[in-house]
């Protein structure tokens, strides 16, 4: 097939791999006994998960009065954490859907793990609004179905209900997309396995054979799912921002929120992907599949989205001043210099200033810088949501109800507990499924393998151009 070949193209698969070697490298982590690092990490994640369960049982038993949220600041850590997790859940679908449409081949190295991360992050996000309902056993009331309570329906005009639809759709569609991509690779694991293990993978690979017609349909399905996931991923955080933007609270009621939230979500999502990938590639020995080129590409996305977020912060301040509306001006004065000034400056430093170092190619290609900054950005993006939510509510219309918010041990436990839940799921995933999409990597071997392109290929005389 003739196609235009760019003169400069990054090597995405190093180490002169053959197809068999790719299978060997990517399937073997699921076949070996877990390493000591894995066991330690898993034990730690499981302990935090246990803490989560304890704090949730405590909350349900005693009521959400156990949280630090009060009548003035009625959304606090819970919604902050919810938005934070949802934002983290944005990179996976962005990498797999939007980059598929743009034909960015570097996505193949990281898409599988990023999508898994998306799914686990959305699970974590979902915990917060559900338990914030208080009487969690009535949570099914949000589902509109014919019922014996009237029938009483949910309010379709409410952005909170739009959120229910957006997030459940996002979760289920991401799951389908991820799993359908995983099926051929599970078949690869199956065909290497024996005995009971083979039976398990036989069930989960749905009888995949690799027939040409199946591959053709599989590609058609992936492309359309990518096509519809692209507006979906943009819609999810847009709708999350509607929770705030459609309210009448100064500081929330702004039209800039949807694009600002989406950029922030992509920003934080990529930061979390970097945090995980830098560790995963080292622990599972995947440096030849998740290369420095992959890390650099993601750092470029981070510096772009970080800058968009920075522009959004400044635009907000400018618009507040320019509006000439004293309540709006006060809301933003309070956001910067109010009781939570430290959160605002933390956010500004972590999200706007720190990613700018990625303009330097050397830093973009440094593992340590990448890891360190990805953590800084994760923290910064958490601050952003806290600033928007708690700072704004702390100084509302009536000075008599002004208040201050401190999290209790229950909220801290729930939040750190969801980190446990997230890593618990992720660590299991790295044991049971290939963390890099095997079939997709094989498909790009001849256009991105180092024996075909780049310096080494030219030296050996294999270079095609």
């Amino acid at each position: 097939m003739s196609q235009a070949i760019a003169p400069v193209r990054h090597v995405l698969i190093e180490g002169n791999k053959s197809y068999h070697q790719i299978t060997e490298d990517l399937v073997s982590p699921t076949e070996k006994a877990p390493s000591r690092e894995w066991i330690v990490a898993f034990g730690l994640a499981a302990s935090f998960l246990a803490l989560y369960v304890f704090a949730i049982v405590w909350t349900v038993w005693k009521g959400i009065g156990e949280w630090g949220a009060n009548r003035t600041i009625n959304w606090a850590w819970d919604i902050t954490n919810f938005v934070w997790w949802i934002g983290i859940g944005h990179a996976g679908t962005l990498i797999s859907a939007i980059l598929l449409i743009f034909r960015q081949r570097w996505r193949t190295g990281v898409n599988r793990a990023a999508e898994a991360m998306t799914i686990f992050a959305v699970i974590c996000a979902g915990q917060f609004p559900i338990f914030h309902m208080g009487r969690v056993w009535l949570a099914f009331f949000i589902m509109p179905f014919p019922n014996s309570r009237g029938p009483l329906w949910a309010n379709f005009n409410s952005p909170l209900l739009w959120d229910v639809f957006a997030i459940s759709t996002y979760f289920s569609v991401s799951l389908l997309f991820w799993y359908t991509g995983l099926v051929p690779d599970l078949a690869t694991v199956r065909d290497r396995a024996k005995g009971f293990r083979r039976k398990i993978y036989d069930t989960f690979s749905f009888g995949w054979t690799g027939s040409a017609k199946h591959w053709q349909r599989w590609e058609a399905l992936s492309l359309v799912l990518a096509g519809i996931s692209t507006p979906l991923v943009l819609s999810v955080h847009t709708i999350v921002s509607f929770d705030f933007a459609t309210s009448v609270i100064p500081g929330w009621h702004t039209t800039i929120f949807p694009p600002y939230f989406v950029a922030g979500a992509v920003f934080s999502g990529f930061a979390m992907v970097q945090t995980l990938m830098v560790i995963t590639r080292k622990v599972l020995n995947l440096q030849e599949y998740i290369t420095i080129n992959h890390i650099e590409s993601m750092n470029k996305v981070i510096v772009l989205t970080g800058t968009i977020v920075g522009v959004a912060y400044l635009t907000e301040l400018f618009m507040a001043w320019y509006s000439g509306y004293i309540y709006e001006q006060f809301a933003f004065y309070n956001r910067v210099f109010g009781v939570y000034w430290w959160a605002y400056f933390g956010m500004m430093f972590c999200n706007v200033v720190s990613p700018q170092v990625f303009w330097s190619r050397k830093i973009r290609r440094s593992i340590w810088w990448t890891f360190f900054l990805s953590i800084v950005i994760n923290i910064g993006m958490w601050f952003e949501r806290f600033v928007i939510i708690a700072t704004t509510l702390a100084r509302d219309f009536l000075p008599s109800s002004w208040s201050y918010y401190r999290p209790t041990w229950v909220e801290i436990s729930i939040f750190t507990g969801t980190l446990g839940l997230f890593f618990f799921c992720y660590l299991i995933f790295t044991r049971v499924a290939p963390v890099v999409a095997i079939a997709e990597v094989k498909a790009i071997l001849k256009i991105a393998g180092d024996q075909y392109i780049g310096e080494k290929a030219n030296k050996n005389g294999n270079g095609k151009h």
């Binding site: 068999h20 009237g150 569609v173 051929p184 054979t209 349909r217 359309v224 799912l225």
Partner: protein, 176 residues
């Protein structure tokens, strides 16, 4: 289908380019290829095999349209007929407020509809036994298979000769 068993003569190639040239030779010799199995989607193979473009995306559009219609009409019926709620003096039939959910329902129906259709037409579900010819097909071998259930010895020899001519790494017979 399960009761029926087919005798399959298949050859394994080491590279997708070998497979593609073999398909061209097979087409020229008017051999009736049963199927081709590969570890990853090989581009340029579909036209050689005479596979028509998948129509799955048309179905995706139809499912999406059903989802959009269902979502929008359900909300409209509930808020104008079944249980109208006055929200802040706004109209009962507040179309702009229905857009987000209508959109989500479009995506939800399209994605689930297409995925379920995909697995159904491919005959793939949990518990389906994979009729794989060789375990290495999902690893690094590219397989071309011929149905030889009712083939004569001369036909068999012809196909074996074809495999030899096209540099197949291995030729085997299996009943599936």
């Amino acid at each position: 289908m399960a009761a029926q068993s087919n005798k399959v003569l298949y050859g394994l190639y080491n590279d997708e380019e070998d497979l593609k040239s073999a398909v061209k030779v097979a087409n020229a010799a008017h051999l009736d290829i049963m199927d081709v199995f590969t570890p990853f989607p090989v581009h340029g193979l579909d036209p050689l095999l005479g596979l028509k473009e998948s129509r799955l995306h048309y179905l995706g559009f139809i499912y999406g349209a059903i989802g959009a219609t269902f979502g929008f009409l359900t909300m409209s019926w509930i808020f104008t007929r079944d249980w109208p709620i006055m929200v802040g003096g706004k109209p009962y039939w507040s179309v702009p407020a229905f857009i987000p959910i209508t959109f989500e329902m479009t995506v939800l129906f399209a994605a689930w509809g297409m995925t379920i259709t995909f697995y159904t037409i491919c005959g793939m579900w949990p518990g389906v036994k994979a009729n794989t010819l060789d375990d290495r097909i999902t690893d690094d071998k590219f397989c071309m298979a011929f149905d030889v259930t009712s083939a004569s010895d001369a036909d068999m020899d012809g196909i074996k000769g074809f495999f030899q001519k096209t540099n197949a790494a291995e030729v085997n017979i299996k009943t599936i």
